[in-house]
């Protein structure tokens, strides 16, 4: 609970930082909104309508009081409620991100441990090479390759993201596979590397020797004594990777036509659609903060030394 409360000032600071940052842009959004032919008078009118004629601090105060009431404002171009737009699109992006994270954790931890147990031998070399490839492939390029070979060529998977309204659950899940793999690839590679090195480090520890000297079977030594301690740095990495996946989702979404936050964000950046940019930063940060809170709990569960009391 105290962690949840600690997240609030962080969100406030991020929002404030970005709010003032965006003011640096010399482009007048009102003018951009109305096009090149707009008269000065109509631009001034539009500015007043958007509230841009007021002083910066007043604008900031307005924005802040709105945010506190969970009002993220309206899209300057369409007049749509930003909260509604994000309500539609955020779940899509989150599905993609958490799907990718799940794939990355399962395959990354599995491969990393396999490599650690076979350190210096063939499986280790293969995992090491594959993971350095995985970290170097741009995720959107992986998305293009997967879409071309696995959906256009052999038609195993749909090339376009679907939704549950038009598709069955099975069909929808089917359409998630490629985007999640494309997005999760680099995270899986990074997690595999981390798992390998932390597992190797843990296997050198004295308590592993103790466990063996107790006559425990090797499987039990690895599962009970090594894995849990090796998981501690992997949990830390998973927090960082979630943040990277949210950023990466923007690119993968553009290849698979995923109706998520990515296209919204890119479009907002190109047109300086301030309410959307602010919401984009706040919402993604919120997700990262929430994930880190969950990971903190996992961290404390794994590591009794940091538990209070």
């Amino acid at each position: 609970m105290s962690r949840l409360l600690a997240a609030i000032p962080l969100m406030f600071l991020t929002g404030t930082l970005v709010f003032f940052l965006i003011q640096f842009n010399p482009v007048d959004p009102a003018a951009a909104l109305l096009g090149e032919d707009a008269s000065l008078a109509s631009i001034a009118e539009k500015r007043a309508e958007l509230g841009l004629d007021r002083s910066l601090l007043v604008q900031y105060g307005d924005w802040l009081t709105d945010v506190v009431r969970f009002d993220l404002g309206t899209d300057w171009f369409t007049g749509e409620s930003v909260l509604t737009m994000f309500g539609d699109r955020a779940p899509v992006t989150l599905t993609l991100v958490f799907g990718a994270l799940a794939i990355a954790l399962v395959s990354g931890v599995g491969l990393g441990i396999l490599a650690a147990l076979k350190a210096g031998r063939l499986p280790d070399r293969i995992v090491t090479v594959v993971s350095s490839f995985g970290m170097a492939i741009p995720n959107f390029w992986a998305a293009i390759l997967l879409a071309y070979f696995l959906s256009v060529q052999v038609r195993w998977f749909p090339a376009i993201w679907s939704n549950t309204r038009t598709e069955t659950i099975g069909g929808w899940l089917h359409s998630l596979v490629l985007p999640c793999i494309a997005l999760g690839l680099s995270a899986a590679a990074a997690i595999a590397r981390q798992s390998r090195s932390s597992m190797i480090a843990v296997l050198q520890k004295d308590y592993i020797r103790t466990a063996l000297a107790k006559g425990l079977p090797v499987r039990r030594v690895i599962r009970r004594h090594a894995l849990r301690n090796a998981a501690i740095p992997i949990v830390s990495l998973a927090g960082f990777q979630t943040s990277a996946l949210i950023g990466g989702a923007i690119f993968v979404e553009s290849v698979f036509n995923v109706p998520g936050l990515g296209s919204l964000g890119v479009d907002a950046v190109l047109r300086k659609n301030t309410p959307i940019i602010l919401a984009f930063v706040m919402v993604t940060t919120f997700v990262v903060v929430m994930v880190n809170i969950v990971l903190d709990l996992a961290y404390a569960w794994l590591n009794p030394k940091v538990r209070p009391g």
């Binding site: 090594a226 290849v255 990262v288």
Partner: protein, 641 residues
Amino acid sequence: MSAHQSARSRFWSRFLRNRVSLVGGGYLVVLVLVAAGARFLTPHDPNVATRFQDFLFPPFGEYLLGTDLVGRDIFTRLLYGARYALFAGAEAVLIALVVGVPLGLVIGYFRGWVDRIVMRFVETVVAVPAVVMAMAIIAAVGTGLTTAMFAIGVVYSMIITRLTRAEVFAAREELYVDGARAAGATDRRIMWKHILPNIAPPLIVQTTLLFAQAVLAEAALSFLGIGASAHQASWGRMLRDAQDSIDQSFWPAVPPGIAVFLTVIAFNVFGDGLRDAFAREARGGRVGVGDVEAVDPGSDPVPPSDDALLTIRNLSVRFPRPGETEDVSVVSGVDLDIGRGEVMALVGESGSGKSITAMSIMGLVPDPGLASAASIGLDGRELVGLDFDELRRIRGHEIGVIFQEPSAALNPAYTVGRQVAEPLEVHLGMGRRQARARVVELMELVGIPDPGRRIDAYPHQFSGGMAQRVVIAMALACEPKLLIADEPTTALDVTVQGQILDLVGDLSRDLGVSVLLITHDLGVVADLADRVAVMYAGEIVETGRLTEVFADPQHPYTEGLIRAIPRNEARSGELPTIPGVVPPPWEWPDHCHFADRCAHAGDACRVGPVPLQTVGASSVRCIRAGEVVLRGVRAHGGAAS
């Protein structure tokens, strides 16, 4: 200065031996040359269509890599793309370094409120996903390759700031900083001339890896259309164009993707190579190894005595040496008998092979060691030739082990109760509840106060002495016949050493368990052991009853150990009475291993291997035994029955 130089040359020799990193480095050199000389390598212009309507040509025809959707030569654009990739990466990394390094140095060095304010800002920026933050910055400064990479650089500068600060924090405690301050250096000078060179290695590695990330980021942002413009032949822009024509031709997406991929790999392996050259990672080994291999009994085997619980004959342990064809022996031809209820001390300096000897009894020689023996008999059962799983039923069940460092020997993630209960569950098939009751009994037995409550505590909540009692309880859980105590008091506070030794002695007497007590300190064994085996450089050099060995040592090494007793509290690793330390195993000679440190050694000692011979009630491995006069002490009683 020479030490500095040799460290540097060792760095380069390690780095040059890493072939993968060299290939990565070579690729990067070629990339720079291509970027610089793109104009001379191709007749085409990267932004102008080759010829009217030559668009989407397949590769390996008229145009080496074909043409794109508006008829531009892909090969040409690829070469020019190297320019954009390198410039973009360099821009981002330079901004990150120029902002991050001084900022990190200053806040790490001065700390206080500056540090708190800057770090709050850094944490705020880092909380936002990097790409999203970069997009917000791009929204402020406008789109385009230069501004996009500026944004990426600003985000990376936060990473560099954090890293620099953390490294400065660590470095600030180092002696050289105090030294420089004492010599009157200014803060600025200390930061730039003393700290920065010392924290450079992790920064260099991180910079290389960030360069790879920047190349990826350039491609990604240009792909979205907020990086390179249509006139800039960047790899990301090429992929964007390829995506537009993907329904007509897939090919244009291939070359720029491979270019990004290879470039990122090159930077990554180069960075990894630098990291490995700065500090080598621990290499892993197999878990649970060391089935003992059977060998011939040797020339004339000593027959096992009838009342012996443990008999070891001709035990040897070899390790393969990297880069050498021949293995190196760390233990050779060890014979050892331990009677029932007897406390046997195995004594010698570190590096003499005591612990490895003990571990090989249980088949726990660390990978890649190879143990072999003619026989290891435990209570009439032959252990040589048993496989891992058969030995497993003996470990923790018939043989219990106490280790040197109790806090490291216990798993930090589990309560002590669960760890002590494990052998009960695995070997005796006890259920949770039954095991728990037995654990409380065991904890009481080893003198842990309030065991009913302490059973649910974690290892870090125990003092060293109490943690060692937990380890002893764990070792005794299944009522083993043999207890191996490997330097059980070395890591403990002097005040509790005696208590732990008394506990081991009492338990062995009360439970009738035999003990193999390994120590470098003869003083430890004086009150406890019945018999002593002295080990030096992989061989037993003297063995006999404790009282006799103490009173009348036959081997000069034993005499040295005895004379070292009173001064042994301060463990310096060197015996005060014998100069030098145990040489590394590959330097052990064929003749007497001790000759080079022995005050009594003569030419005859350097001729050939010395056999173990019987002198009185003891055995000794010295050709001058009985000839030189050695001084002993009167043991204070001992546990001799």
